[in-house]
């Protein structure tokens, strides 16, 4: 990847992380850990990969994005703000009673949100519906979704996996945010959904395993997904929950907890300093 693009994506990911942490801090609630783990993927999708237009959020031929792990809305909102869908100042209103920024993504009121999500397992199915619709009317837009690794304990994820392969939805690309942690601890201790790569492959998907924080690998995987015909693609993205904030990294306790003022200031300092 050329340096200019890499720098741009890195800066956008930093902006997304800062925005997500600011939103959760302002709300005194929300999900920072899984927001930070997907920031690099969101940066790549919204600033490089997807055909979207913040000035026309509902344009018919846009690529769609569904945050199946909807609780990490702070990262999505920070991404949409960074991309210009709405004012960044709104991030401070997350979860407030008079804000459009609901605790989980709300397609009715938030510009740029393509599907309301939050109840785990449902988003990937809705993404399948969008991809099937594109196939049915021979539209060439693509559909992207991010599914949590813990989320893949939901049976519906596998109903959707079966469906996408059955209908050869090669316009569907699902990232699995493999950060290894869920609310109650390690995914392998709580209810082991691994091996995710072998499971998706067995369900008939094109499977690519990458480092979720390496833009070159994200780019190569997205390109491979585009080139794969006849199968949906699952990008199993090995990530660090809480990535970029030292005390949140790899800590299940930061799944759904807001930082206090001191922690917030440290998080901002670390995220601002990181290269």
């Amino acid at each position: 990847m050329e340096q200019a693009k890499f720098s741009m994506l890195t800066e956008k990911a930093r902006e997304i992380r800062l925005g997500a942490v600011e939103a959760v801090f302002s709300a005194s609630s929300g999900h920072p850990g899984g927001s930070l783990s997907i920031a690099d993927i969101l940066s790549y999708l919204y600033f490089e990969e997807m055909n979207v237009d913040p000035a026309d959020p509902k344009k018919a031929d846009r690529d769609r994005f569904v945050l199946s792990k909807g609780h990490t809305a702070p990262a999505l909102y920070a991404t949409l703000a960074a991309r210009g869908y709405f004012d960044k100042a709104l991030l401070k209103t997350l979860r407030q009673v008079d804000s459009i920024l609901q605790g989980h993504p709300d397609m009715k009121h938030i510009p740029g949100v393509d599907m309301s999500t939050g109840s785990l397992g449902l988003g990937i199915s809705a993404a399948c519906g969008m991809a099937l619709s594109a196939k049915a009317s021979k539209d060439d837009y693509r559909v992207y979704t991010i599914v949590g690794d813990g989320e893949s304990e939901e049976g519906q994820v596998w109903e959707a996996a079966m469906f996408a392969a059955h209908y050869k939805l090669d316009n569907l690309c699902a990232f699995i945010d493999w950060n290894g942690l869920q609310i109650d601890g390690k995914i392998t201790d709580v209810m082991n959904p691994t091996p995710l790569d072998e499971k998706f492959a067995a369900f008939g998907w094109n499977v690519i395993v990458i480092d979720a924080h390496d833009f070159d690998q994200i780019e190569a995987a997205c390109k491979a997904a585009r080139e794969c015909k006849g199968k949906p693609t699952a990008i199993i993205a090995k990530s660090v929950k809480g990535k970029g904030v030292s005390f949140m990294e790899n800590q299940a306790g930061w799944h759904g907890k807001a930082p206090n003022k001191e922690q917030y200031e440290q998080a901002v300092a670390e995220l601002t300093a990181s290269v």
């Binding site: 109840s119 449902l122 199915s125 399948c128």
Partner: protein
């Protein structure tokens, strides 16, 4: 034309006919032959998608399709459409108010021999609690077809409830008008109002005759739209007659009876007696025997009408 048709069959016929006129997409969950969406599939195979035995996924898939501008009909038995997939319907379809039509067949105990696991007497109650959900429960083949077209023309989620058991035609096509949210007065009366829905409408008309034989004048209203309820028509009738009986093939909790009680409590609190499945599970049997066993009969409606009249002040 046969003199009877199951509303599920009318549903399948309507989809196939209206598929020529509207850009609808039909989803099913391995029940196309039973829900009668097969009729549509034979005509428009490229617009029919089997989702397999995975109703939760199907509802969320329907939401995704609707978000792209198409009008999906997602079909299964009421038990699985409203029961199994309740949370998907609530969160993926209801909350974003997406333009999904849920074609739920085999509602109520008239499923018959399959028994309790497949007899959904709770779907109206479940769907009523979802804000913005329209609930249509047609009484005959003509009304079923009209309901399908009205659902297509309505922008937003609609739950359509169809039965497996053949019911008589009640209406002439020439004189029939379907409007979402508007009840249809089938008979004028002065002593008691019978508010019925679905399969129970023609049985309510029989009850009216039984009552007439005893000198009791019953008004009969067909409520094909359970939500939004025609509160105005029901209230006006309650004011006139002073007593109401509801009749539905559903639990007496949370269905038409519940809706009518909730409405009249605020507009015209008169005695209301509910005929329906009395908070029990169903069981296997021939449909006439089941209707008898669960009190879904003209005789029981007439008895309950007299009970309601006796409660008048």
């Amino acid at each position: 034309m046969a003199d009877k048709i199951a509303t599920r069959e009318a549903y399948g016929n309507a989809l196939a006919e209206l598929g020529e006129k509207y850009d609808i997409v039909v989803l099913d969950a391995d029940l196309a032959e039973a829900t009668k969406t097969l009729t549509f599939k034979k005509k428009f195979p490229e617009r029919h998608f089997d989702c397999g035995i995975a109703e939760g996924n199907m509802m969320a898939v329907a939401a995704g399709i609707a978000s792209t501008g198409k009008i999906p009909f997602a079909s299964s038995f009421a038990m699985f459409a409203a029961g199994r997939a309740f949370e998907q319907v609530r969160n993926c379809i209801g909350y974003p108010h997406l333009n999904v039509k849920i074609g739920a067949t085999h509602a109520g105990i008239s499923v018959g021999e399959d028994g309790a696991t497949h007899q959904c007497n709770e779907d109206i109650a479940l769907m009523r609690t979802i804000p913005g959900m329209v609930i249509l429960n047609p009484a005959d083949g003509l009304e079923a077809k009209a309901a399908v077209e009205a659902a297509i023309l309505h922008d937003g989620p609609v739950y359509l409830r169809f039965g497996r058991y053949a019911v008589p035609y009640l209406y002439d096509e020439a004189n029939y008008k379907f409007e979402i949210g508007k009840g249809i007065k089938l008979a004028e009366g002065s002593d008691v109002t019978i508010v019925a829905t679905g399969l129970m409408v023609h049985i309510a008309l029989e009850a009216k005759e039984l009552l007439a034989a005893e000198g009791i004048s019953a008004e009969v209203i067909n409520i094909h739209t359970i939500k939004p309820l025609d509160v105005e028509m029901i209230t006006e009738s309650a004011k006139k007659t002073g007593a109401v009986v509801t009749a539905e093939e559903h639990n007496i909790i949370g269905g038409l009876g519940g809706a009518v009680c909730e409405a009249l409590a605020g507009t015209c609190p008169v005695p209301v007696v509910r005929v329906g499945v009395e908070d029990k599970f169903g069981k296997s049997g021939k449909v006439p025997a089941l209707l008898e066993e669960y009190g879904l009969t003209a005789a029981n409606i007439a008895a309950k009408a007299k009970a309601a009249i006796a409660l008048k002040k």
